[in-house]
């Protein structure tokens, strides 16, 4: 009994609650009107169940009285014993589950066939009622707190009372048989659930162990680095794993770090170089993202420049530049990072009794985790890191250190050259064919690829006008505007507020992208989605320029689950407007939450074309590129 109750408590409840609230009045009615009333009521009257007052109709006899009171239910302890655990799932699952069970289990069908009376067939065709019912009822009655359950069952659609009526005429043994079969099915279901639970636990345990195992060797290997063991959030340290674990790791995408997971955040804090300050009012929906907390530590970090021996100075410098915002833009950040790694590899020497491939991977991982502390990685950087680690891992062990280093350096150079610089040139070549004389081109923010396209088209002597749409707080468009006007292009500058006004004169929209995901979603500077949607509404073609190394096989449907938070002060403060900047201390109030998102996701419906180094493709073909040139090929 106890075990039953607990299982019930665990599984439970919403359905029951609903049933209870909606249905207190109907039961008496139905008990009188339905043909089942006479049969059901006797057990009711004698039922000791405390819940019966709520639902006079359905409460069947509890276990012990049932033998005496109900001749149609001969007692059978063995059956009962496997009878009782299951009811809880059945009662709590939705009707859809009933359908499933009946439809799926051939045994239930078979038994009903054996029961064979036409009525029974009729009953079985109503999966929610009929022979399913007794089991439910029984389970409910057996549990003290069952009033709710039974009511919820009574709450079934009216057809059921008819079914019950039909099933009533069944002979005792027959029905017993019938009802027990689905119950057994339930048992298996409950068992399945338990099994699942157990498996999940086992998996979690194994995972914990594994992650421990991963961290431990890293820490042991380099005591000097104990403060910064391989970070867990970017799947590094794979090199140290056993092969089958590696495989498993590959199968399941590594969960991204969730910053609302307290224990992991604590762990992370312990080994971070950048000392985070507690962010103020966190926007509830974005709690899982790393909160913006830079700015203040910059001087502190700068002073530590010569103390940190774990991070290579070149990497450290790049990290600081990310932190202060001196380097921004997907390509620039990626190139800066790769060049810093290049420096680091140049200065690298394998410690004694270590292999280059493992030690260097760990080293790169530690650099990466430092960079992440400075600013979350962009997808382009993630891809570049994956490429680099792949190259290191594939390095033949026979190679001497200097050879290996030379190969890696040339690989990095090649990546920067082929995947970014040449790719941009190819994109420009393709995109220019889509610019005609007399066009008005709109661009949003500042994208290097788009800038190159515009400049090249201008060099070719095409006559066109550019509309630069910008938005607070970064106002990156101003820099683009300055550069373009300096080159002699005719430009219009406006803010995104005026987008719906300006769009009607535009003939093409060129956008950059931080990444394109494999469902065609464009992940880009916040505001891009807005521009693309307005353009779509005005039937203006939207062309997204993105190098193929930024493609990612992930699928994302919204901008919430993965994003980056910017400085909340940047949107609350307006330069030169003291009257607006004064919050009267309200910024300490819990009711104020400032949200400064960095990226958004544009659904592929609003994108007419993706221009990439593989040519001009529709956004639906991004996964084809990722697949065909996947992995090795895409990142060389």
């Amino acid at each position: 009994m106890d075990s039953r109750r607990t299982s019930r408590a665990v599984i439970d409840p919403k359905v029951r609650q609903v049933g209870f609230f909606t249905n207190t009045p109907p039961p008496p009615d139905r008990s009188q009107s339905g043909p089942l009333a006479p049969i059901r009521s006797p057990p009711l009257a004698d039922s000791p169940s405390p819940g019966n007052s709520l639902s006079p109709v359905m409460i069947p006899p509890p276990r012990h009285p049932s033998d005496t009171l109900l001749p149609r239910r001969p007692p059978s302890p063995s059956l009962d014993s496997d009878f009782f655990p299951p009811p809880s799932p059945t009662t709590t699952t939705s009707f859809g589950d009933f359908y499933d069970d009946v439809a799926v289990s051939p045994r239930a069908r078979g038994s009903s066939g054996r029961g064979n009376s036409g009525k029974l067939q009729g009953a079985s065709s109503f999966p929610g009622g009929g022979f399913e019912m007794p089991s439910v009822v029984k389970g409910a009655s057996s549990v003290p707190a069952s009033g709710l359950t039974t009511v919820s069952v009574v709450n079934l659609p009216p057809g059921i009372s008819e079914n019950a009526g039909g099933s009533v005429s069944l002979e005792g043994p027959n029905e017993r048989n019938v009802s027990s079969k689905p119950l057994k099915e339930k048992t298996t279901k409950a068992e399945r659930r338990a099994l699942q639970e157990a498996q999940r636990e086992a998996k979690a345990a194994a995972k914990a162990e594994r992650s421990k195992a991963v961290v431990a060797p890293a820490a042991n290997a380099k005591p000097a680095k104990a403060a910064k063991p391989a970070s867990q959030k970017n799947d590094n340290a794979v090199g140290g794993d056993r092969p089958q674990e590696k495989d498993r790791k590959k199968d399941i995408p590594h969960p991204r770090m969730q910053y609302d997971d307290k224990s992991r955040v604590q762990k992370l804090k312990k080994r971070s170089v950048v000392k985070p300050t507690e962010a103020r009012n966190i926007v509830e929906l974005f709690r899982h993202l790393p909160q913006y907390e830079h700015g203040t530590q910059l001087p502190d970090l700068q002073s530590k420049f010569f103390q940190l021996d774990t991070v290579h100075p070149a990497v450290y410098k790049v990290g600081l530049q990310y932190l202060s915002g001196d380097i921004c833009g997907g390509n620039a950040r990626c190139i800066a990072m790769l060049q810093a790694f290049l420096e680091a590899i140049k200065d690298y020497s394998t410690p004694p009794e270590k292999t280059l491939s493992r030690d260097l991977t760990a080293k790169i991982s530690s650099y990466v985790s430092f960079l992440i502390e400075c600013r979350p990685l962009s997808i382009s950087m993630g891809n570049a890191i994956r490429f680099l680690k792949g190259r290191i891992a594939k390095m033949p062990i026979t190679l001497s250190e200097s050879e290996a280093k030379a190969i890696l350096q040339s690989d990095i150079d090649r990546f920067i050259n082929e995947k970014i610089i040449v790719a941009d040139k190819v994109i420009v070549k393709h995109a220019v064919t889509k610019i005609r004389d007399g066009d008005v081109l709109l661009t949003y923010g500042s994208s290097t690829a788009v800038e190159m396209i515009l400049l090249h088209a201008h060099e070719l002597g095409k006559q066109f006008r550019v509309v630069i749409v910008d938005s607070r707080p970064k106002l990156e468009g101003k820099l683009l505007l300055r550069r373009l006007v300096g080159k002699g292009l005719s430009c219009t500058y406006t803010h995104i507020n005026a987008i719906s006004y300006i769009m009607h004169e535009v003939t093409r929209v060129f956008l950059g992208a931080s990444s394109i995901l494999s469902n065609g979603t464009v992940y880009s500077r916040v505001g891009t989605a807005c521009v693309a949607m307005v353009a779509h509404a005005f039937h203006v073609p939207v062309l997204v320029c993105c190098e193929a190394y930024k493609f990612h096989e992930r699928v994302q449907l919204d901008s919430i689950c993965s994003n980056e938070l910017g400085d909340p002060d940047a949107i609350s403060k307006v330069a030169g407007r003291e009257d607006l900047n004064n919050f009267d201390g309200l910024d300490k109030s819990e009711n104020l939450q400032l949200l400064n998102l960095t990226y958004d996701a544009t659904p592929s419906d609003y994108v007419s074309m993706v221009i990439t180094d593989y040519g001009m493709i529709p956004p639906t073909s991004v996964p084809v590129i990722v697949r065909e040139y996947g992995r090795g090929h895409l990142w060389i």
Binding site: R508, G615, P618
Partner: protein, 397 residues
């Protein structure tokens, strides 16, 4: 992509359909070089800027005789002397015994043979007649031939696409697998023939594939005359399906009239509409069938003027729009809007003189974006529009 041709549907039905398939042996041998009246204006089509060569061919094939066309033919005849002079220069330049264009033209005269297939046959002949000694030489020769074919008519999408595909298909695997040049060359010829055969059979394959979509009692709207669509309907009629066809008139060359004639011969109930009555009749239509001049990378199609508006109307009334197109029409183009294509011009006969101040839109085709299309029936199978790009990427990249 060509390896995965859905030609198996033909194998299944080869026996009953045998009578309808024209004899291959006849088709495969080049037709005799007869100089017809239509051919008189062919040698130098680029001079005639008012009408694209593509549409001249079509007009000749479909036997559409409009007053404009007659005037053109006459003009061509009168300026034949001038043309002949240029022709001689052209001959002198090519100089050789074998010319691709000539070969192509001879193939092209077969009314049942699509332009692209003619080009493919002509290019296959280039390989056969080549005197190249190395693979590289042969490839260059082939490239030259295809370039000259492409420049012969820049407005024909299927010609360009067919040439590109052929080159791609033939030279796809590296020739290094074969030790000596001759075996490699014979392998190339083999492939070329196979390609030509697949292309030739494409129409039958498409007709077989589309049969599942035509149900008894349905009403089909067709636009213009497309040989593939006609094949589809003919096969459906032969399969004893009961359906009704609404034909648009297909101005300006009235190709719809021809389709309705052909269908009437097959005892299919046909109703003829003027082009502007499409929206009026759309509510009784169950599906729209159109052909395509070219299928572009976005999955949209370029087809005879009026297709876009039919697609818009059908889309707004939730009627499926099916496109029947052979896969050699898949082109590496990506138009963003209607004006983003090389224009193909076609004169329009209004029946009355038009004042010179009045401008006339003479574009012959429009672009239908993929979101308005339901499915494409191709010899690769039944595809959704987005798959077109996947196929093209796999082939070209």
């Amino acid at each position: 992509m060509w390896y995965r041709s859905a030609s198996f549907v033909l194998d299944k039905s080869q026996q009953p359909q045998n009578d309808t398939v024209p004899d291959d042996s006849v088709a495969l041998s080049p037709p005799p070089l007869s100089i017809s009246t239509a051919a008189a204006q062919n040698p130098n089509p680029r001079r005639n800027m008012s009408m694209s060569a593509y549409y001249q061919t079509r007009a000749a094939h479909h036997g559409v005789v409009t007053s404009d066309w007659l005037a053109q033919a006459q003009e061509a005849a009168t300026s034949a002397a001038a043309a002949a002079g240029q022709e001689i220069i052209g001959e002198g330049k090519s100089g050789k015994a074998f010319s691709v264009i000539e070969e192509f033209n001879s193939w092209r005269k077969q009314p049942d043979l699509a332009e692209a297939v003619a080009a493919i046959r002509a290019l296959a002949a280039v390989i056969g007649n080549s005197e190249a000694k190395t693979m590289m030489e042969l490839e260059i020769e082939l490239k030259k031939a295809s370039d000259s074919l492409k420049s012969w008519d820049t407005t024909s999408i299927s010609l360009t696409a067919g040439c590109d595909l052929f080159i791609r298909y033939v030279t796809r695997t590296s020739a290094l697998e074969y030790e000596d040049f001759n075996s490699a060359k014979s392998r190339l010829i083999e492939r070329a023939e196979k390609f030509g055969e697949i292309s030739y059979k494409a129409r039958r394959i498409i007709a077989m594939l589309s049969q599942d979509f035509i149900f008894d009692g349905c009403t089909i709207l067709v636009h213009g005359f497309s040989r593939v669509v006609f094949e589809v309907l003919k096969t459906a009629a032969q399969n004893k399906k009961l359906f009704r066809v609404l034909c648009t008139e297909g101005r300006p060359d009235r190709t719809g009239l021809r389709l309705s004639n052909e269908l009437a011969k097959l005892d299919v109930p046909v109703k003829l509409l003027i082009d502007s009555a499409v929206a009026y009749t759309m509510d009784e239509v169950d599906m729209v069938f159109v052909g395509a001049d070219g299928v572009v990378e976005s999955g949209g199609i370029i087809n005879m003027m009026g297709t876009y508006q039919i697609a818009l109307v059908a889309h707004s009334m939730n009627k499926p729009i099916y496109v029947a197109a052979e896969s050699y029409k898949f082109a590496r183009l990506y138009p963003l809007d209607q004006k983003d294509m090389a224009p193909a011009l076609r004169p329009i006969d209004f029946g009355v003189p038009i004042p010179s101040k009045v401008e006339v839109e003479t574009s012959a085709r429009d672009y239908t974006p993929p979101q308005y299309l339901t499915l494409l029936f191709t010899d690769l199978g039944v595809l959704t529009p987005s798959v077109v790009s996947d196929e093209l990427i796999q082939l070209y990249l």
